[in-house]
């Protein structure tokens, strides 16, 4: 692929160039997935009856209150954990432990402190990548996430946002069919988070892989996802299941201040058990100035 000079292209040339590698996005499906920790009387049911089909190239955000099993679901999808019930399949094949078709972006950067940023990104390259090709790929990815000048730095020498970008580049280095992101921007400040969201959208536009994104941030979910899945417990029994599925209207990048999204945000917050205040006082939510950034 050559750098595009078309002005109406949504991605910048750097992003387009990095898309040179063929990524085949794959669908991922969950069938009756449940997960209980512990055995016998001490068993604690965290997830139950999760049925979800994610199309190739789709971005699905998983929302839910803290401790409801969002991360567990993602870890199961990546083969970092095994479900107690049900199966998860990527492209029709059951997910293997540490499945090579998926890549995980963890909540923490989890960079190896003794390796340079470039060395850490190289860790994500598929096993058996030729040295030269790997190096080219790594430098392209570093350019993509804006870390080209920091390739030789150690993780402790860069900021948290940069480390998180390096972590994203490492996940992308794998050319994953499914990209699993576990609150990847959760630890960042609000502004850096917005930047990272835009970066993720650029990356996705260039390499349209399937993305499962766990987040606790309603706005982030609405900004990034095609669909938002709301996880939560029923009142009378343990184990979280999918409470709501919301198809987010419009195409990305979405206007962060749109009234439509504000309404969806309200619905999702309701689902999370958060009082909207505005509606409770009879003030139409849609006319208030968007709260974001808080």
């Amino acid at each position: 692929m050559t750098p595009s000079s078309a002005g109406n292209e949504p991605t910048d040339p750097v992003v387009a160039r990095a898309a040179g590698d063929v990524v085949t996005a794959a669908p991922i499906s969950f069938h009756g997935v449940g997960r209980a920790f512990g055995t016998g009387d001490a068993a604690r049911l965290v997830l139950r009856d999760i049925d979800l089909e994610v199309a190739a190239g789709e971005i699905v955000a998983i929302l839910g209150p803290s401790g409801c099993g969002k991360s567990t679901l993602l870890r199961i999808a990546g083969g970092l954990d095994t479900p107690s019930d049900g199966v998860v399949a990527i492209d029709g094949t059951v997910v293997a432990p540490f499945d090579a078709r998926s890549a995980v972006g963890f909540q923490e950067p989890r960079l190896l402190p003794w390796r340079t940023i470039a060395g850490n990104v190289a860790l994500g390259l598929p096993r058996g990548t030729a040295r030269g090709a790997g190096r080219t790929h790594v430098s392209r990815l570093l350019e993509l996430v804006g870390l080209a000048d920091f390739a030789g730095h150690r993780p402790r020498e860069v900021s948290g946002g940069m480390a998180q970008r390096a972590s994203l580049a490492r996940a992308l280095a794998r050319n994953p069919a499914v990209l699993l992101l576990d609150e990847p921007f959760g630890a960042l400040d609000a502004l850096t988070r917005l930047k990272m969201q835009d970066l993720l959208l650029d990356v996705h536009a260039a390499e349209p892989t399937t993305v499962l994104l766990v987040t606790h941030d309603v706005d982030e979910a609405l900004q990034l996802a095609d669909r938002v899945i709301l996880l939560g417990n029923d009142e009378d029994r343990p184990g979280a299941r999918i409470q709501q599925t919301i198809v987010v209207p419009g195409t990305r990048p979405r206007d962060r201040g749109s009234a439509e999204l504000a309404e969806l945000r309200g619905r999702l917050l309701d689902g999370l058990g958060i009082d909207r205040h505005g509606a409770a006082r009879g003030v139409p939510t849609t006319t208030t100035i968007p709260h974001y950034p808080y």
Partner: protein, 332 residues
Amino acid sequence: MSKADAQQRSDAPRTATTPHTASVDREFAAPVTHDGLAIAAAGPLGPSGVDRPERLPGSGIGRQPVEASVPPASSGGRRRLVDRRWFRVVGGALIPVVLLITWQLVSTSGLVPVSMLPTPEMVWLAAVDLAERGLLGLYIAISTQRVFLGFAFGAALGLAFGAVVGLSKLGDILLSPTLGAVRAVPSLAWVPLLILWFGIAEDSKIILIAIGAFFPVYTIVAAALRHVDRQLLEAGRAFGLRGFALFTAVQLPAVVPSVISALRLALAQAWLFLVAAELIASSMGLGFLLVDSGNNGRIDRIFLAIIVLALLGKLTDSLVGLFERWAVKRWA
């Protein structure tokens, strides 16, 4: 990126009524004018980030957050006194020189009889005397050889067993109770057995020194490997590393500092056990010099042996320090 910039710019002039909002506005007012990505660098600095030098790709300033947090006064080109090499050397030599002078004054003043405290000159003459007869060099050589052999065997075995116990659950279950029990035996308790089995030749001494060097290495390495950051291990596995590749990429670099300190401890133990072994049964070596001089009342030679041991111990420790520098550069 530019679209997002415009978005934030449009958000920026919101009325800054609360102090919190004000700080947020200031925080991104500056970076927005630069490369859009630079704003991410302000991430962990928090609200105080405004006062710090902004990290921009390509610009040399403020590359390391650690440096950036140092007040500019001390980072302005001139190195502090404690960072200078000559100061380190002089500072380190200060106490030995003071001790030597005190020793000289006390021993020559007659406060303490020379049969209790020889003068430095007497010790020096004893050294020259032994050196001229070729004994000092021989004793140092044989003792050093014993330490190095015992240390090499003990440390190698300690690394191997520590790796097995630290990396494999099965190895831990099978080996650690037994090794724990063996460790509980005071190492000098092996001496009679070793002498019975191996005689008083080199073998028994080297084995005793190896026992002394083995346990610090084994204990520290096993514990360090067991406590390698699980999150990093999981990340390594998630990116397809397993077995030996996982070991060289994650576990080994993570434990290098522990291995080095284990080796340092083991080396000190090796010298300790050398003297123990040579005190008990030997015909040469620094331990023999100690016990022989004790029997003959040659206090000058006792002092000589102690000083030589101190110098040799420090010297070998410095060698491990050199190895540490190399290993940290190579692995960690």
